[in-house]
């Protein structure tokens, strides 16, 4: 039996990646994710892995591209401005259908912004970020334990569908210490990486890793084939947590660390006899749209809470599709919403003030 250890979110993510078989890490320093590369620089040499500090995030993500194309379990991590720099590379990785893990420990923006926790990079993570018609699987843990479990699973999802996967945390999750258990990694049954550039070694024809399709017809075919894959992922990989929604008048929607704060607001509301529940999307793409859509039949209203000026709320509105009102409460710039403020928003909705 594995035991529980007290660990910082960032370090726990790094250790989880190693335990899931990741042996290649390419990164560049930026707060608030520095504990990930620091941990990797210590651990990778001990497991015959590679830790490499690149000259920029641009270079790091292209090293990930090369290593992923060569068939390795590989990752990078960054935040804010660094993730922006990686976008071209992420688009190439998606276009070439390569698996990899990108850990994004979000800080306040735009520009150099700040280093406090934020959720303002939801659009960038979930809606593309780079150029072209593509998707990432985006996983949003709300505890350090969940960060560990999802990091491990991220590599399997990536390999299964040949898709880049992002673990989206925030500075709070990265910095907080919590007890975690590293359950022995039970991987999925995965297809062989017979497409990887390993050198043909006299055994097969050459492999080509590429995202260029100069003929529009060929590119459309390629994109539509990927769309088919995206549809499969939407059917099979949606994850969410739901609490107290059966009788809820108001359904709160929040992800990541914000969901923890929202849960305390929800408990306080229940104590006052207000019927509120919560849906916490764990996969931001694929988004748990169906569950929200169904709840629109029974609930009277939705309240989305984010550490942003309002980003995920757009997906909630699409899911609810005008059947019931969808309200928003957010703090931005590294400010964290307080349970009391959320409770007040809930009361405003009840009182018809919103």
């Amino acid at each position: 039996m594995s035991e529980r250890v007290l660990m910082k979110g960032n370090e726990a993510i790094a250790e989880a990646a190693i335990q899931a078989g990741c042996r290649y890490f390419f990164g560049y320093p930026i707060t608030p994710q520095n504990e990930i590369p620091a941990y990797m620089s210590k651990r990778m040499p001990k497991v015959d892995g590679v830790y490499l500090q690149a000259e920029s995030e641009v270079s790091a993500i292209n090293m990930v591209y090369g290593a992923a194309g060569a068939g390795a379990r590989v990752m990078t991590s960054s935040s804010g401005p660094g993730i922006s720099l990686k976008q071209e590379g992420i688009s190439y990785i998606a276009g070439s259908e390569l698996p990899c893990l990108i850990v994004n420990i979000v800080r306040g923006g735009p520009g150099l912004g700040g280093i406090q926790p934020a959720q303002s990079d939801y659009f960038q993570s979930v809606k593309g970020g780079g150029h072209g018609d593509y998707r990432l699987v985006v996983l949003a843990p709300s505890t350090v334990q969940e960060a560990v479990d999802l990091t491990m699973e991220a590599f399997d999802i990536g390999d299964m569908y040949r898709i880049p996967v992002m673990v989206l945390g925030d500075g709070m999750l990265g910095q907080m210490m919590e007890p975690v258990e590293f359950k022995p990694f039970q991987g999925r049954a995965l297809p062989a990486k017979d497409w990887a550039t390993t050198g043909t070694r006299g055994k097969r024809k050459r492999n080509i890793v590429n995202s260029l399709y100069i003929e529009p017809q060929a590119l459309e075919e390629k994109n539509l084939a990927r769309l088919e894959k995206y549809r499969q992922i939407e059917q099979r990989e949606v994850k969410y947590e739901m609490q107290d929604c059966d009788d809820a008048d108001i359904v709160l929607v929040a992800y990541g660390t914000t969901a923890r704060i929202v849960k305390s607001a929800m408990k306080a509301a229940r104590r006052e006899g207000l019927k509120v529940g919560i849906v916490r999307p764990i996969t931001l793409w694929p988004f748990p749209a169906a569950v929200l859509h169904n709840l629109a039949e029974t609930a009277k209203a939705f309240l989305t809470v984010e550490m942003s000026m309002g980003q995920m709320v757009e997906d909630v509105k699409l899911a609810v599709n005008g059947v019931k009102p969808v309200y928003f409460y957010g703090r931005t710039g590294g400010m964290v919403p307080a349970p009391a403020d959320i409770l007040e928003e809930i009361k405003k909705i009840y009182g018809g003030e919103k």
Partner: protein
């Protein structure tokens, strides 16, 4: 001449008289000579040579503009026993990809860069490159490259020679049979060094772009000789260990 094994039997898309084709052949011959085709992974860049991923009969990856040395780094770290080379033009390598090229050398990354210097951006229609000569007219230096506003042409081999991590740097040309023979030797040597684990190597090949220079293939070769050779002297700029050049 028989087609080298490491080249796919298909027509290439280069303009008539373009020297990219000669350089492809040199690389393929070197791979054949060293008998490492099934342990070679090439990285195509963005430029006229983007389709090299179709032309070389070995595993290939296509990399983003300027980032081939980083992609090659990722590949080489995963498969250290393979020959990993990039094929990059001067816009790709000396402008947008300067940092990636330089830092691959600084790390002493055990890869080989084949650097094709034709003093212009070919694929996008003949814009000024960092290697465009002073006074040279291009689409975006219509009055000729001006030192005052556009600076001097970048000398990649000379710059890399100052980097401790670089093991082998040579500048060659493909304007004559004699030079092509020397170029072939240089490519072969770079690959051999890599297989011996000696570290970072780059071969700069002075090349022509008749189409965007606005010259016939023969005039282009003359132009290379008269204008590029004086500014870009041929020779070995760095040779760490092993035999003397």
């Amino acid at each position: 001449m028989a087609r080298p094994k490491a080249l796919v039997d298909m027509s290439q898309h280069y303009c008539p008289g373009c020297t990219h084709g000669i350089i492809h052949r040199l690389i393929a011959e070197a791979i054949d000579t060293l008998d490492i085709q099934d342990r070679t992974i090439g990285v195509a860049s963005v430029g006229c040579s983007v389709f090299t991923y179709k032309y070389f009969d070995c595993d290939m990856q296509q990399a983003a503009h300027g980032r081939a040395p980083s992609a090659a780094t990722g590949i080489k770290r995963v498969h250290p026993d393979t020959l990993v080379f990039t094929y990059q033009g001067d816009g790709d390598l000396a402008a947008i990809g300067t940092a990636e090229m330089l830092h691959a050398a600084i790390r002493g990354e055990n890869i080989t860069i084949i650097f094709v210097n034709n003093a212009i951006y070919g694929m996008t229609g003949g814009q000024m490159a960092p290697t465009t000569l002073v006074g040279q007219v291009t689409q975006t230096s219509p009055y000729g490259r001006q030192i005052e506003t556009q600076g001097y042409p970048m000398k990649v081999s000379e710059t890399l020679a100052t980097i401790e991590g670089a093991a082998y740097i040579e500048r060659v040309s493909v304007d004559s049979v004699k030079h092509i023979k020397a170029a072939k030797k240089a490519v072969e040597k770079a690959f051999r060094y890599q297989m011996e684990g000696k570290g970072f190597s780059l071969v700069e090949l002075l090349s022509t772009c008749p189409t965007n220079w606005g010259l016939s293939p023969i005039e282009a070769t003359d132009w290379l000789r008269e204008n590029m050779l004086p500014h870009y002297p041929l020779g070995v700029y760095k040779d760490k260990g092993g035999e003397q050049a």
